[in-house]
């Protein structure tokens, strides 16, 4: 697949936004359970603004993906069968919950209402992760995507980056949370590392179910395409091919593995020890870059069976 930048930004930004919100909610829940003292109300309120900004930016990015953005409202219609439609509903619902949560904190401070709203937000965040992940995971013939690992990875990456941002935010606004938050971040990051490595291992061993033989229905071991029927390219050659070399792909893979996992973890440890929000913010920024690369790779690695029909021109 050709990586679609609007979608890369959408999924990484809202993932971070979701993770950040969960971090905020965990902070309140932990305080309510007495694990730590209740962070200040601006921590929550502004944290929600931060989360909403990420979600909003993601939403905005998604519009760039649409040919007809003015009709975007129509996309909520098919929630019964389309994960995309469900995402389209879940995202604003979640944003509303985040806004309500933040507003409640701002207006009334922590309390039962905020806890309840937070719980609803958490539920919606998880739903949103599922929706987003399932958009890709549900396409059975994109075998690289068609696995529960896709949803798990989306969730864990979102949580890792959101918690990392949450840790930086805590270092700025509620230092009391930094240690715990750093631990959560590390846990999510390591979990994501495990599941992502699992998916990389899985994908490396995938055997494509579709072949040129099934694509054109000719049973012969040697089939070679000579013509696609056109020579100047088409939607099929633009949308489904990344047009990058294998070496580039490898570089991106190692790049994201480095940027998403070890580097942020080192900076996380340092930032947490120093309670330094700039260090932690840098860690987040680096990891976010890594996540862009990870998502790019996620698309690029997926081999669409339609590509079998677009191998050579003459």
């Amino acid at each position: 697949m050709r990586p679609a930048f609007s979608v890369i930004f959408l999924t990484t930004l809202i993932g971070a936004g979701q993770g950040l919100f969960i971090a905020l909610y965990v902070a309140e829940l932990g305080a309510a359970l007495g694990a730590w003292s209740m962070p200040p109300r601006l921590y929550f309120a502004l944290g929600c603004v931060l989360s909403l900004s990420l979600l909003g930016a993601g939403l905005a990015a998604s519009f760039f993906h649409l040919g007809r953005p003015e009709r975007a409202w129509r996309s909520a219609a098919m929630w019964r069968n389309s994960w995309l439609s469900r995402e389209v509903i879940a995202l604003p619902a979640f944003m509303a919950a985040v806004a309500a949560f933040g507003l409640t904190h701002y207006v009334r401070g922590a309390g039962d209402l905020s806890l309840a709203l937070g719980a609803a937000g958490l539920l919606l965040a998880l739903l949103l992760f599922i929706c987003t992940g399932m958009i890709y995971a549900c396409i059975q013939f994109l075998q690289e995507w068609h696995t529960p690992l896709t949803v798990i990875n989306y969730t864990l990456f979102g949580c890792a980056s959101g918690f990392l941002l949450g840790t930086a935010w805590a270092a700025a606004q509620a230092p009391v949370l930094v240690a715990a938050s750093a631990l959560w971040t590390a846990a999510f990051t390591l979990a994501a590392l495990v599941t992502r490595l699992a998916s990389l291992a899985r994908n490396a061993r995938l055997k494509p179910k579709s072949t040129l033989q099934t694509a054109i229905g000719v049973k012969h071991p040697r089939i070679a395409q000579k013509s696609e029927g056109f020579m100047g390219g088409s939607f099929n050659t633009r949308e489904f091919f990344h047009a990058r070399s294998f070496a580039w792909l490898r570089a991106v893979k190692w790049g994201f593995l480095l940027l998403v996992f070890p580097l942020p973890l080192v900076l996380l440890a340092a930032g947490a020890a120093l309670v330094s929000w700039p260090v932690l913010a840098t860690a987040f920024a680096l990891q976010y870059l890594g996540l862009l690369a990870e998502r790019w790779f996620f698309f690029a690695q997926a081999k669409h069976p339609q590509n079998l029909y677009y191998q050579a021109i003459s």
Partner: protein, 953 residues
């Protein structure tokens, strides 16, 4: 549009073309349509359309592509003045050559009335070998004049066929044939289009088809799988040939001097050796049966053999094993193919309960067919050994007994014609006189050396040297040599060259770059060597830049056209068919149909056929001309055969009908006459048919057309070269050997001329082109839809060959011949014989031509194989070669063409390939300077297109 001339329906919305589909009522395409026809909209509205008459900007150099608009009045005035002067001094200084136009009857008439011998269409560089080889043998040919009867055939063998030709009818027929269980064998170096769906693909080395056909003939004769009865009755297989080495008639059939010859052109008094009476007998005597084999001595002591015996002796050494080494096809496969053909022909006979009478009066109660059909085209024709190869094919078809019989080869009216047809050129320069129509046709069918169009010194009268000793049977002319000859002044210089619908500055010329230089070349006085060039076309092409005057033609949607019986009609097997086009759109801009230009000029120049007795203009316009023109006053024969007579009640012949166009339009624009079944078969020898054809004035005589297994015409030329025989003319010494060699009355195989002089180690590969079905000739790169399908071209190379040369799939390579080289991209293909490389024809374009952006794929990535092909070869005679000539110091040359017909040897070129260097530009080579759009053309090329009919208005 194209020469297949299918019937179409054009649907308009708001004055714009909404949809073009096939006309279901049309006999040719029966409602289907091809990719080109379906893309007619993009052709009609192409930004490459020429819309105004243009004159080379005064002071600018030819080829600089600088033009100014000029009015039609001024255009006609200029043309009239120049043409009148040429006509009143030396009419042959006007040369009119046309491409694949569909108005050769009119363009030919114009040239003839003008008085110039220098007229031809593109046949000489297309497929004249096919026409000549078959017509001199069978009296008919493939495509417009005949074809395979796939409705009844059981085995179909296709050899070397251009896939953009006769496209829809052939596609319809092949599909039906396959569905009804027929077996389809394709012989071709390349497996594309039609060959793709063949049951068996037999890859062959280009130019060796003759060897295959002769080996098949060998095997069929030696296993006794030939149709003896057919050969005996309907061919000259049983004619006794005079083998007295001292006879003036050596090698000609013995004539029975006692018998009266009723038709001097087609004597019928040959002899058989009757098997029943064991003595000589008049040929075709109903009670006799000739020996086909053996040797005999006539009463006067003359040793004779039946022609078939000579054929048997000829093919004796052409064994399948011999052919294997030449063709690359295993001897076992050749044998099997021969057996399949022979056994199918013999054992799957078709008998139709149709009574008919043969030309010798014998009544038959049935028509028999041997269901083996063949089709062939340029793959055989475009070689310098093509004529003899095609003779071999026609003879193979004949010994299988498949001519004009169900399931075999079937004629289409106005064919069959006598062998050779009666049409003749003048026989010398006296036929060309000022202010006088040509005393004959510009193109004809020589029957003896005395029919050649040469002067007393054996020099050609025509600029292209057609009908000269160099190419005696060049029945379609040699358009590919016109520019070179005119530039060199050999045989003479001309004043005006008018080119219609031919891209001589690009894909229609061999040696393209040199031809472009010649078009621009000036003599010492500063005058262009070809002083005035007029180009008429609907589109800007590479050629338009070299014009002094450009005439914008209409498209096929904007004008009246006729598919006339006088030209190449669209007849079916069961009878004559002609057709018209009526305009559905007004002309774009100031476009004017070329026919109107000719009618206008003919009137202004006062050609006898175009003016009344008082000198006033006879025809208002082209439609008026079509209705009222008669070949002779009162002949009742005109361009259209349908709805003649005052009220449209007559067919084939009748007085002009003022409402003829309307009547055609009301009848799907087609006139179709279905002959009674008894006239539909065996038409070479069908008495009823011949009498009908004579009554309808399709033919002058009603004599039988006997298949020339052994060619008398060729033998007459050979004898002239040997200094004997009935003809008065003798070839010049330096061409005698050439004539004696190639005018063999029996088919033989020789390596193409270019191969004979090529170092096969240095240039081991054959390079050929194939025509893509989605393009017609070179005419569709201006079409926004079609050019997406073929935007540029690759050289297809067998992977084994490519790897041996270190060539990557998709990599840039050099292709080099003795004459030049091109840089292009390679594409691996398992569907090409490893000794052959090929590409799609004429996809490569000059930068900026056809109003494409200079960086378009066609120019940057596409390439033209023509750069590798020479228009000339060293002269075969060392003495002449050394003598030299103008423009080519030190070396006299001869056209790279078949020595019999002058057919351009496009497919003879030998090449080598090697990978281009990594540091070389990834761009095809050679490149030419980009040309800009012309005045009247859309200069701002749209960056994107969204065609919706009727939206513009």
């Amino acid at each position: 549009m194209c020469a297949c001339r299918c019937g179409i329906r054009v649907h308009l919305r708001g004055g714009e073309v909404r949809y073009i589909d096939g006309n279901p009522g049309h006999p040719l395409n029966q409602g289907v349509i091809c990719a080109k026809g379906s893309s007619g909209i993009m052709k009609q509205y192409s930004p490459a359309r020429l819309t105004k008459p243009l004159m080379r900007k005064p002071g600018s150099a030819r080829g600089d592509n600088q033009f100014v608009e000029v009015s039609w009045d001024e255009t006609f005035r200029m043309l009239q003045e120049r043409l009148a002067k040429i006509r009143s001094t030396d009419p042959k200084k006007f040369a009119l050559f046309t491409g694949r136009d569909q108005m050769q009857a009119l363009t030919g008439l114009f040239a003839r009335q003008f008085g110039t011998p220098n007229y031809a269409a593109h046949g000489g560089f297309c497929s004249v070998n096919m026409a000549a080889g078959m017509i001199y043998t069978l009296g008919g040919s493939f495509w417009e004049f005949g074809g395979p009867d796939l409705e009844r055939a059981k085995l179909f063998v296709m050899i070397g066929t251009a896939e953009d030709h006769h496209s829809n009818p052939l596609k319809i027929a092949i599909s039906k044939f396959k569905r009804s269980g027929g077996r389809f064998i394709s012989v071709n170096p390349v497996r594309t289009g039609y060959s793709a769906i063949a049951d068996e693909w037999v890859p062959i080395k280009p130019g060796t088809d003759g060897a295959l056909l002769l080996a098949l003939t060998h095997e069929i004769i030696h296993t006794g799988l030939y149709d003896r009865e057919f050969l005996a009755r309907y061919t000259n297989a049983g004619y006794l040939i005079d083998l007295d080495p001292n006879s003036e008639m050596h090698g000609l059939p013995v004539h029975d001097s006692g018998r009266h010859e009723d038709i001097p052109e087609y004597p019928r008094n040959m002899l058989w050796w009757d098997r029943l009476s064991e003595q000589p007998a008049p040929c075709h005597a109903p009670e006799a049966d000739p020996y086909l084999l053996g040797e005999f001595t006539l009463a006067d002591g003359t040793p004779v053999k039946p022609a078939f015996q000579l054929l048997l002796e000829r093919v004796k050494d052409y064994t399948p094993e011999w052919a294997e080494g030449i063709t690359g096809i295993s001897a076992a496969t050749i044998r099997r193919l021969a057996h399949e053909m022979g056994v199918t022909a013999r054992d799957q006979k078709i008998e139709l309960p149709i009574a008919w009478t043969d030309s010798w009066g014998t009544e038959h109660d049935k028509v028999t067919g041997n269901p083996v059909a063949f089709h062939a085209m340029r793959g055989l024709a475009a070689h310098s050994n093509g004529f003899q190869t095609i003779r071999a094919l026609a003879i193979l078809m004949s010994i299988l007994g498949t001519i004009d019989r169900p399931g075999g080869f079937r004629h289409k009216a106005p064919f069959p014609r006598g062998i050779p047809p009666l049409a003749k050129t003048p026989k010398g320069p006296e036929g060309v006189r000022p202010d006088t129509p040509l005393a004959g046709l510009a193109l004809g069918w020589p029957g003896t050396p005395d029919d050649l169009f040469i002067d007393a010194d054996n020099q050609p009268v025509r600029i292209d040297k057609a009908f000269s000793w160099e190419y005696p049977l060049s029945v379609h002319g040699l358009m590919h040599n016109v520019i070179t000859n005119a530039w060199r002044g050999d045989p003479y210089r001309i004043d005006m060259l008018m080119i219609f619908m031919a891209n001589m500055a690009w894909n229609s010329s061999m040696n393209t770059m040199e031809v472009r230089r010649m078009l621009n070349d000036k003599d010492e006085s500063g005058e262009y060597k070809i002083p005035f060039i007029v180009v008429c076309d609907a589109f800007q092409s590479e050629m338009t830049a070299f014009a002094d005057l450009i005439l914008p033609d209409t498209t096929y949607l904007e004008r009246h056209d006729v598919m006339s019986m006088l030209d190449r009609p669209i007849s079916e097997f069961d009878g004559p068919v002609d057709a018209v086009r009526v305009p559905v759109l007004p002309p774009t801009g100031q476009c004017k149909p070329f026919q109107e230009v000719l009618i206008e000029l003919a009137g202004r120049l006062k050609f006898p056929a175009f003016v009344n007795a008082d000198g006033s203009r006879k025809y208002r316009d082209y439609p008026d001309f079509i209705i009222n023109y008669e070949t002779e006053p009162g002949s009742g024969i005109g361009f259209l055969a349908g709805w003649r007579g005052k009220g449209g009640e007559k067919f084939m012949q009748g007085e002009p009908n003022p409402r003829q166009w309307e009547m055609y339009a009301r009848n799907n624009c087609v006139f179709q006459l279905k002959l009674p079944p008894s006239y539909q078969y065996m038409r070479n020898w069908n008495k009823g048919y011949h009498e009908w054809a004579q009554r309808s004035r399709l033919r002058r005589y009603a004599d039988p057309i006997v298949i020339q297994i052994y060619s008398e015409v060729l033998q007459k030329f050979r004898m002239a070269a040997q200094g004997r025989g009935p003809a008065k003319r003798r070839p010049p010494a330096h061409l005698a050997k050439r004539i004696a060699t190639y005018f063999d009355p029996l088919p033989f195989y020789y390596e193409p001329l270019e191969a004979q002089i090529t170092d096969a180690h240095k240039y081991p590969l054959n390079a050929i082109t194939q025509r893509p079905m989605a393009m017609y000739h070179s005419w569709d790169s201006q079409n926004a839809w079609l050019r997406q399908i073929h935007a540029h071209n690759y050289l297809f190379v067998n992977p084994a060959l490519a790897r041996a040369h270190g060539i990557d799939d998709g990599g840039w390579i050099w292709v080099e011949s003795m004459w030049g080289k091109v840089r292009c991209m390679a594409r691996y293909s398992e569907a090409v014989e490893p000794g052959t490389v090929w590409t799609w024809n004429a996809i490569g374009k000059a930068a900026g031509a056809w109003n494409l952006a200079p960086g378009a794929n066609e120019a940057e990535l596409g390439f033209l194989l023509n750069h590798l092909i020479s228009d000339e070869l060293p002269h075969p005679s060392p003495a002449v070669r050394a003598a030299g000539g103008e423009g080519s110091p030190g070396e006299q040359r001869i056209s790279n063409s078949d020595p019999v017909t002058g057919q351009a040897g496009w497919y003879d070129v030998r090449v080598r390939i090697y990978a281009a260097g990594a540091d070389e530009a990834e761009q095809s080579w050679p490149q030419v300077a980009a040309v800009a759009a012309l005045p009247g053309m859309d200069r701002a090329r749209k960056t994107w297109l969204a065609f919706v009919a009727g939206k513009k208005k």
